[in-house]
Symmetry: C2
Subunit: 558 residues, 2 copies
Amino acid sequence: MTFKTDIEIAREAKKRPIQEIGAKLGIPSEHLLPFGHDKAKVSQEFVADARGRKRGKLILVTAINPTPAGEGKTTTTVGLGDGLNAIGKNAAICIREASLGPNFGMKGGAAGGGYAQVVPMEDMNLHFTGDFHAITSAHNLLSAMIDNHIYWGNELEIDERRITWRRVMDMNDRALRDMVVSLGGVSNGFARQTGFDITVASEVMAILCLAADLEDLQNRLGDIVIAYRRDKTPIYCRDIGAEGAMTVLLKDAMQPNLVQTLENNPAFVHGGPFANIAHGCNSVVATQTALGLADYVVTEAGFGADLGAEKFFNIKCRKAGLTPSVAVIVATVRAMKMNGGVAKADLGAENVEAVQKGCPNLGRHVENVKSFGVPVVVAINHFHSDTDAEVDAVKEYVASLGAEAILCRHWAQGSAGIAELATRVAEIADGDRAQFAPLYGDDMPLFEKIETVARRIYRADEVLADGKIRSQLKEWETAGYGHLPICMAKTQYSFTTDPNRRGAPVNHSVPVREVRLAAGAGFIVVICGEIMTMPGLPRKPAAQSIRFNEEGLIEGLF
Amino acid sequence: MTFKTDIEIAREAKKRPIQEIGAKLGIPSEHLLPFGHDKAKVSQEFVADARGRKRGKLILVTAINPTPAGEGKTTTTVGLGDGLNAIGKNAAICIREASLGPNFGMKGGAAGGGYAQVVPMEDMNLHFTGDFHAITSAHNLLSAMIDNHIYWGNELEIDERRITWRRVMDMNDRALRDMVVSLGGVSNGFARQTGFDITVASEVMAILCLAADLEDLQNRLGDIVIAYRRDKTPIYCRDIGAEGAMTVLLKDAMQPNLVQTLENNPAFVHGGPFANIAHGCNSVVATQTALGLADYVVTEAGFGADLGAEKFFNIKCRKAGLTPSVAVIVATVRAMKMNGGVAKADLGAENVEAVQKGCPNLGRHVENVKSFGVPVVVAINHFHSDTDAEVDAVKEYVASLGAEAILCRHWAQGSAGIAELATRVAEIADGDRAQFAPLYGDDMPLFEKIETVARRIYRADEVLADGKIRSQLKEWETAGYGHLPICMAKTQYSFTTDPNRRGAPVNHSVPVREVRLAAGAGFIVVICGEIMTMPGLPRKPAAQSIRFNEEGLIEGLF
């Protein structure tokens, strides 16, 4: 069999003018701020108006732990949105924006795949509507103002060794990870060590994705802890006076972006925080706008359900007052086989036993998501080499858990391949069966929150943290940050902190290496293992192959 | 008298949808890529088509040496465009884009002033259509690829001490001027000293503004010299393989931006290279598009005519094959008084003698511009405190040179105040009197080119340059760069290299401190004096006052 590539399919898309897509949601064209003919931002005024309506049902798409075989979480999100529209429902999807920098290392990705994609794919992988550039500017303005404050006398008594606010760039540039700035003498300031992270790791990104509106955005930006004094008292962004200008820089970026699926259904693509040191969901503003305009809103969360769904529920839903109606957990036969011990090269051969052996990874995610009070459906994202026996093995396993698994062929067939899942998801959502509650209350001590997630989601026996980390958490509780949720940063490949432990491991420990306060975003980052916040480029970066070909088409980006 | 501020006037603008503005130039709406309702890019296809038409007359607006009193060069460019339209001509203007970073230091500027402005002013001072962000990304991609190349084995044998390609950011951040990167051990690369410039100082900016189309852009980007080996042989961007990806990043930025004046006439605002280390003009693509669509195109060049017009003629017109029909030199009574020795605080009082004493600065610019074979008209940009006797003194002085000066009141009256100038300029342009030629031929040796500009434009006795600089120029001639024009970087405040010497000094020398090869842009930068390529923020940066006020309007940016 030969298949068209994602980019070939995307380029054949029969896109409709973005005003037509907006009209499907009742957005008048004067409230759509176009970027070219196929992208638009929804005006701030209209967003404020839509938020009040809250008519839609929220559907989360999450997944098993990712494997090299791929799961197709975004593909299923897009497919389910198209599927709901195809069965006569009014649905919109909400997904994250892509980061520019990584595209120059490895080939960039589609938003979705096959016949379940969002377009325009090329723009979405390049500058799109400039949101990430605005975040970069806002972040770095604060950085410049901090060094400028020190340069002019350091009235705030910033301890130059305790500046936590770095700079950001949307680029994979390892040379910028660790540097000494302000060299060159008196006129350039005081030399100090610092570095750059990639833009998606900026707290400004997390803030933009959690802020309700411009006022909330400005307050949260003001709350950012940028440094400490020698006496360890914190210094805030608002002490530097940057939050107003940062808000002005972000005014357009706060407006959600509207694009379309291959089937011309509305897709909000807005925000893109890291799923490790941040919460990994699209913006609250986009989700709430979509919920105000559509009857069903399909959204996704980063990585597998142990990280993505957990943070979606415990951080995003808690903070924004969202109540999900149903969750779809995406699994594939191939990923089950990998969890069952099959190597990637051998995935093509039928192996029902391996599928059965790998299913407990899926099973634990099903249990976990249900524990939030949210009904679960499993979507088996079909791959052409899957056999009926393998698919049946997954279905039987899921049935044994008291849940159901539905085979979906949206990758190959678009909405026609996902009608069954769409129908079932709509039924569950309409039945109002969910009794959503976050896993822990605001009042639980911070360390107990970590233990709760580790025990109930990761099924770990214990959390390991030295005295310094425990006392740091106590200090934050004393300083008034004890009510914050925690944002776990660990490997996405396993329930444990060891990326090689697939399946559903038990008897493991979660070592906490570091904790960080994101006071503006409103969470405590709990780092378990190595987390890279500035990637590097590979030996042969994709950038070397990216160019316009003779037909004027972009080559090498996908 | 009280006047409305520029921003108050701009906010009262009765903007028309950008499609209507495009229609005035015959741009069909499918070739206008909108950014909101009041900005658009003109599609690459349409630009290519328009370039072939070449129907318009090109009018340059330049000025005397700037003084703290202000001249109003952009204001006059905008006013003259509106004036030409008001007398029934089909005219467009072409100006530069504003840089984002400096707005957070000092208050940002309007594009024009009073009733001769381009809108939307706020967007134009913020992210606008993202061009500068794209330039930043393209520039820094190359930087990251250079360090990445060294990291993976340095096959090209780049001498880490001789890397000339730095990084850029559109921010005033003095801490980034001079730094050591790649600290932190093996996984972060090889430590080396480098720094950031502000984005407008990037060679990518100059290249974008001089490139004819995407193909030319890619070739020029490939030509950039990024470093030297130990044997001093150059290493190019194309050796790193970055030019294709950079071109893809710049594909939208290469399309000129269309906005409108307060009188709803078309304005192209595109590109913004430094006027010292670069040539300081808007893009060739925008100018050629405008010339293909309008009968008259009014454009401006940075700083006074000694830098701006000289580089406009010797670099931009030479490279792009443009032939200007007439030049307008903007002067003000107040600036003449300052050139005549009056302090800024005393400018309000009538002082005909000081006006007369200051006029030789204007006179020399008139002579210089004429020496390029371009007819000259002087525009006296009226200020409310000017007396009739002072205005007459300027007119009489200009008449004594065989030229004419016309009083213009566009700042206060819009097009109604500039009808006389518009009429006269159109007459001259229609008379095809210009016999434009650059000041020197391509074949002249590089040092002689410097001497030619210094003697004929600055009226210096000599050019001082040590043996190292002279031999560097010789080396470049040997390497095949001898045909390039020179790009002078000196103070804008004087014909000399001493910013305090106003008027029309003689008996001075031009010391050359440094020469730099901009092989992609296609010129040799000749640096005479201190040139800052990364500004800092002041003690109380404007950013601290920028915010949304209670009415949702941006405060503190203007």
